[in-house]
């Protein structure tokens, strides 16, 4: 197992020449792809990861200064791709990881075949000329919501897990619950995600891009999806019937069909 593989709790399944690298969004972990991956396992090598700081990644690797920008996560993806010698990667990124993926493809376009963005948004905070859907205050509200919903991270268990990433009993306990994230990291990553601005990066994306746009998505509304489509040269937008921000969970079949349609046309 390579260093990056361990760091990201990377799981490799399926068989195929090409690789699909699935990167979960804010607040979750690789478990969120469970309804999607079976449809691609026969024709693709599937790589599932947890971003550093999420899921069962190495929490000790989460340096609050280093992960102050999305670029650090993008660098992690490129390290992993290099270490696993992956080629022609189809990157599937949900939410913030659509932007993390975009940054990775900008840095090394040759490693990627294409990128599928699910619910992308380059900028969540509105200003006079841009409607991102949120104000700075709403991000403070989110942090409050995180504060009052530790989801099993009582302060008694946190330091134990933080200090013992290798303890199998604890890892087993973690396995039994999905998307349980360290509250301090969750709050930090929330700010990095929702206060960031990657609008200027969209034009630098050169790989073919599919944008999967949900209906009534408060986090990434249609006009934001359209903005992304207009600013990435080689991109197309598919409007899904699925409501909310996680079509791969709420409407997996529709999501799979849209992805397959895009991939088979390539």
């Amino acid at each position: 197992m390579t260093k990056s593989q361990k760091k990201h709790n990377a799981q490799i399944l399926g068989k195929g020449e090409k690789t699909m690298l699935f990167v979960h969004g804010y607040g979750c972990d690789q478990n969120m792809w469970r309804f999607i991956t079976p449809a691609f396992e026969t024709s693709y090598k599937i790589v599932l990861i947890d971003l550093v700081g999420s899921g069962q990644s190495d929490l000790n690797a989460y340096d609050f200064d280093k992960y102050n920008t999305l670029q650090a996560h993008a660098d992690d993806l490129l390290d992993l791709i290099k270490e696993l010698c992956l080629k022609d990667v189809v990157l599937v990124g949900h939410s913030v990881s659509a932007m993390i993926g975009a940054l990775a493809t900008i840095q090394n376009p040759a490693a990627f075949d294409c990128i599928i963005m699910i619910g992308p948004s380059p900028r969540y905070i509105s200003d006079h000329s841009y409607n991102g859907g949120f104000s700075k205050e709403s991000i403070d509200e989110l942090v409050e919501a995180l504060d009052s919903n530790y989801l099993g991270w009582s302060s008694a268990i946190t330091p134990v897990i933080m200090g013992n990433p290798e303890r199998p009993a604890l890892a087993q306990e973690l396995k039994n619950s999905f998307c349980r994230n360290n509250p301090e990291i969750a709050k930090h990553f929330a700010r990095v995600t929702f206060l960031g601005d990657n609008r200027a990066d969209l034009e630098k994306v050169t790989v073919p891009t599919l944008i999967l746009q949900c209906s009534s998505d408060v986090i990434a509304p249609l006009h934001v999806g359209t903005y992304v489509q207009q600013h990435i040269k080689d991109s197309q937008l598919t409007q899904l019937k699925a409501k909310g921000h996680c079509p791969h969970l709420s409407e997996p079949e529709e999501t799979i069909q849209s992805m397959k349609k895009f991939l088979s046309a390539r």
Partner: protein, 393 residues
């Protein structure tokens, strides 16, 4: 009593919501309507669960709650702020479960909503108290760290004081003993002269006066050394760094000690290249070398030899070595040779006495000049003192 499920449902002490999988409301109970101030028509099929949440709550719902509900089929004890029709807010606790229906029907989600206004207030107070205690804890650990470092400083100071105290004790004992004994012998000489003046002839008086003079000279020398050493200890010694020709120092010393050695029957040879230079304080370095040559002659028997060599080393240093074929130094004495606490005062092979301060002072001067001093010695065969100074090139 007959159970009326309709009453149980509508007047339950919690809100009930039924939604489609995407959150669109199918039905709610009367309690929920009373909580939020909406009429049934306003919200059924028009609103989704997340529409009742604050913006931050919506993000939390989409990024945490919904994924968990889809993956696990149920979520419990999540706290949100609900927004009423009049836009006021109240805190709620939500449990949700996904119900799988038969093939014809869609899955639906069942929520219960508990108003926790009072409990939330209590929770806020607790969280504020926790925040405060965390802050205090941080402050406390800072104060603790500062205290620990203070204790270290105090321990170091105490160690320094102990050393200074030992130095001071030694200083007093030298003054008391070593300086007093020559004065007592001077006093007895002068008493002798006064009491028996008539019984001495001129020749005797001259001899005694010469002895008196020698004794005064050595006492002055000792006092000088003591004062110099005390100044070094107090950090008040003068230090003039300059580039010095080694030969300038050694030829002075050679002129003085060649005679002394000749009288004792010892062969002295100095071998120093004209061009060698070193950097340091001239007086101090001359003191060091003179002291080494003086000791070498003092501890070497008749027919022995004393030699001084100087050479330049590749690492930017100049080595000046003084060798003798004298009595040598035991390992035990060697270890304590430069320390004031074990001040050595050994008479020479011809009974020459010394102040016992020479080597100690030499060692202090070596430190001031950034030099090093090493000893090679074996008992009965002789000693070599190697000194190293910064080269002037």
């Amino acid at each position: 009593m007959e159970l009326d499920f309709k009453t149980l449902y509508h007047h339950a002490p919690c809100g009930y919501l039924y939604t489609m999988e995407d959150g669109t409301l199918i039905d709610v109970n009367d309690t929920f309507l009373a909580f939020t101030g909406y009429s049934r028509e306003e919200i059924i099929e028009n609103k989704r669960f997340e529409d009742f949440l604050s913006i931050g709550g919506k993000i939390y719902y989409e990024t945490h709650f919904a994924p968990l509900l889809h993956m696990r089929g149920e979520v419990s004890q999540i706290s949100f702020d609900f927004i009423r029709k009049d836009e006021t807010r109240f805190p709620v606790l939500i449990n949700a479960i996904k119900q799988s229906a038969n093939e014809k029907q869609h899955n639906y989600i069942q929520f219960i909503v508990l108003d926790i206004t009072q409990r939330k207030q209590y929770e806020m107070e607790l969280m504020n108290a926790k925040r405060k205690s965390d802050e205090l804890l941080t402050q406390l650990s800072k104060v603790n760290a500062a205290l620990t470092s203070n204790i270290q400083v105090i321990a170091e100071q105490s160690h320094q004081l102990e050393k200074l105290n030992a130095t001071k004790d030694k200083f007093f004992s030298i003054v008391a003993h070593d300086l007093k004994s020559p004065l007592i012998s001077l006093k007895s000489f002068s008493n002798l002269l006064i009491d028996h003046f008539d019984s001495f002839d001129k020749e005797d008086i001259l001899t005694m006066s010469k002895q008196l003079n020698d004794s005064v000279d050595s006492t002055i020398k000792m006092a000088d050394n003591l004062i110099t050493w005390a100044m070094v200890q107090m950090g008040e010694s003068q230090f003039n760094e300059e580039t010095i020709k080694v030969k300038d120092i050694t030829s002075n010393i050679f002129d003085v000690y060649q005679k002394v050695a000749l009288e004792k029957g010892i062969n002295v040879s100095f071998s120093v290249d004209d061009s060698l230079t070193i950097i340091g304080d001239k007086n101090q370095i001359e003191f060091i070398i003179r002291n080494l040559v003086n000791n070498a002659i003092k501890f070497t028997h008749k027919n022995g030899f004393v030699s001084l060599t100087a050479k330049s080393l590749p690492d930017g240093l100049v080595k000046i070595s003084v060798s003798d074929s004298g009595v040598g130094i035991s390992d035990e004495i060697k270890r304590e040779l430069f320390s004031i606490s074990k001040k050595q005062n050994t008479n020479g092979t011809d009974g020459e006495n010394g102040t016992g301060l020479g080597l100690m002072l030499s060692y202090e001067f070596m430190k001031l000049n950034g030099g090093q001093i090493d000893i090679e010695s074996s008992l009965g065969k002789g000693s070599t003192f190697h000194t190293k100074f910064k080269s002037g090139h």
